[in-house]
């Protein structure tokens, strides 16, 4: 099929519609407002329901209700708005309600900036809400991946009865890129016998609930959820490696900086530096074993983590995976600034203790 030029945010909205999204609840915030804008025009035409809620908190709780009734429900926002949704996300996880949540990340903390950021890594992978829960977190690096991952996110959410997040820096939402519409195939059954969407002659009432007031019952519920999270960690881990086979230095990065790293790698290769890219595609589950094994190879001398974050966040998972086998350096920009190709090249030279050419 011929490629078309789509804006990232419009494309993920269209992708969700094609994946059978029944309901979208959202609230405007830059740089993700094109998602609800597109949904408001096109989802009703496809037979779905769009509601612009009075707040982000209302939107995620509408998702909770719609998802609980068995509908495919989605919301999207950008960083400060995602902070507001955390209570709803932990309820979704606790009550085992599938949902898709897109975070088109901007710079923070607080209101920060409307330019791109990756400072919500902790929030997405550690669970910004209370209690012991996990969400699968998919991190696209271009518009095509954003489209594909949003569609798969609905399937993963249904399969595990758990919220799934797609996190992308604002650039991916705002940029135009050629994409191809592939035929969408559901990977799992559409049956939801647990849903509270009407009794339909059943002999019992389905209940959506995250309250387990008896300690024994809450313990059993947590154990049940843990089995599920362990299964997700085992089955859903995804990553990409580029030129890692004989690399002396490995760049770990995701989203847009991973893409800039590919350009830096071309420059470095031309200058005789063997550099590879390890790109986590699922931020949770983090590809811990793969990175651990790669860092253990004799040819790898150094790891350089690059993020749109001042302090570094994914670097904690990189450290946990590398387990001290090799030294780790960090390059980060924040506030909507992007590390340039030159800065990455210089950081590689510095990490290797070589003089910049």
């Amino acid at each position: 099929m011929a490629k078309e030029l789509w804006k990232g945010n419009e494309a993920i909205a269209e992708a969700a519609i094609r994946a059978g999204c029944d309901c979208f609840f959202g609230y405007p915030i830059t740089p993700q407002s094109e998602v609800p804008e597109y949904m408001s025009v096109h989802l009703p035409k496809a037979g779905g329901v769009f509601v612009q809620s009075e707040s982000e908190i209302a939107a995620i709780n509408m998702v909770y209700g719609a998802g609980g009734s068995g509908k495919r429900a989605m919301t999207s926002s950008s960083s400060p708005g995602i902070s507001l949704k955390q209570e709803g996300i932990t309820y979704l996880a606790g009550a085992e309600v599938p949902a898709v949540i897109v975070n088109c990340m901007r710079g923070g903390p607080g209101l920060g900036t409307i330019q791109p950021g990756q400072g919500d890594y902790y929030q997405a992978t550690r669970g910004g809400g209370n209690g012991d829960y996990r969400t699968v977190v998919l991190a696209p690096s271009n518009v095509q991946e954003a489209v594909d991952f949003v569609q798969e996110a609905f399937d993963i959410a249904d399969e595990y009865r758990n919220p799934v997040m797609v996190v992308m820096d604002g650039l991916i939402g705002q940029m135009m890129e050629p994409i191809e519409w592939k035929e969408y195939k559901r990977r799992a059954s559409t049956e939801k016998p647990w849903a509270a969407g009407g009794k339909f002659g059943r002999d019992h009432t389905n209940i959506i609930n995250s309250l387990y007031i008896e300690p024994e019952a809450c313990d059993i519920h947590n154990q049940h959820l843990t089995v599920k999270f362990n299964l997700m960690a085992e089955k859903e881990v995804r990553y990409e490696t580029v030129n890692c086979e004989d690399a002396e230095i490995i760049i770990t990065s995701y989203g847009t900086p991973a893409r800039i790293a590919l350009s830096a790698m071309e420059v470095l290769a031309a200058e005789g530096i063997k550099v590879g890219l390890f790109r986590p595609i699922t931020l949770w589950p983090f590809p811990e074993k793969a990175l651990h094994d790669l860092a253990g190879k004799d040819h790898v001398k150094h790891i350089l983590d690059i993020e749109l974050s001042s302090t570094g966040q994914m670097i904690d998972d990189v450290r946990l995976a590398v387990e001290g086998q090799k030294p780790i350096s960090y390059l980060g920009r924040a506030g909507g600034m992007m590390p340039s190709v030159e800065e990455m090249v210089d950081a590689v030279y510095k990490a290797l203790g070589k003089e910049v050419k």
Partner: protein, 233 residues
């Protein structure tokens, strides 16, 4: 001569490549000796704005006016008062880069009484690879929406059909066919076909003028970078 009028207004559905065209047109006009002022009046898109190329434009003698200059990344649709200079000072060749769609074009309405007293033309940029304007009827609907919101009449169509870095001359031809059909239906002439300078020779048979461009609105991974310090080739 391309765009001989004193003020050129660039409109179109968003994502059609208005800013890339505007920046290239400004540099082209400055090179031919015009005193050019480019006004970035996009109140819709927060990213990929002509102000990101301020240094390049200034170095080539183009003045840039951008909305809310004091805080250019504020999410506020305010308009710059300096814009009046383009209308008041007839020595200036002005380019107005308008945000996408009829929503973005609404900013023009307040300047209509002033603009219609000047030698201006409004252009409609078309990209046949953008799904929402890829057929004749939808392309015309968007064009008429922009006209009705601004109260200004469209003078010309610019075929800027592209697929970012994957653009081939065939994309330009596809856009030329769409532009031709829109032109026949509306009576609005095709001003030019925009093509990367590397593709110009492959398109020399097109009837209307070609406007060769270089890609100025680069993404952060597209090198050589602006400083040009490191290029692998």
């Amino acid at each position: 001569m391309l765009c001989p009028h004193r003020i050129t207004i660039i409109t179109g559905h968003y994502g059609t490549g208005k800013t890339e065209f505007a920046v290239n047109l400004a540099l082209h006009m400055a090179q031919r000796g015009d005193r050019v002022t480019l006004a970035d009046l996009d109140i819709v898109n927060p990213y990929f704005r002509s102000r990101e190329r301020r240094d390049l434009l200034t170095a080539n003698g183009v003045s840039l006016i951008s909305s809310s200059q004091a805080c250019s990344d504020a999410d506020v649709p305010s308009l710059p008062p300096q814009l009046h200079a383009i209308m008041d000072d007839r020595r200036i060749t002005g380019i107005l880069d308008i945000g996408g769609d009829k929503v973005g074009a609404r900013v023009l309405a307040r300047y209509r009484p002033r603009l219609i007293r000047e030698d201006y033309h409004l252009l409609y940029v078309l990209n046949a690879n953008r799904p929402e304007v890829r057929d004749v009827s939808s392309a015309i609907t968007y064009l008429r929406d922009i006209e009705s919101v601004t109260g200004l009449r469209c003078f010309g169509i610019v075929n800027n059909t592209h697929l970012c870095g994957e653009t081939t001359p065939e994309d330009v031809r596809k856009g030329a066919a769409l532009a031709m059909a829109v032109s026949e239906e509306t009576g609005i002439p095709i001003v030019c076909h925009v093509a990367h300078e590397d593709h110009i020779s492959a398109l020399s048979d097109l009837r209307e003028p070609l406007f060769p461009i270089q890609i100025r609105m680069k993404k952060p991974w597209e090198y050589p970078t602006i400083t040009g310090r490191r290029s692998p080739k």
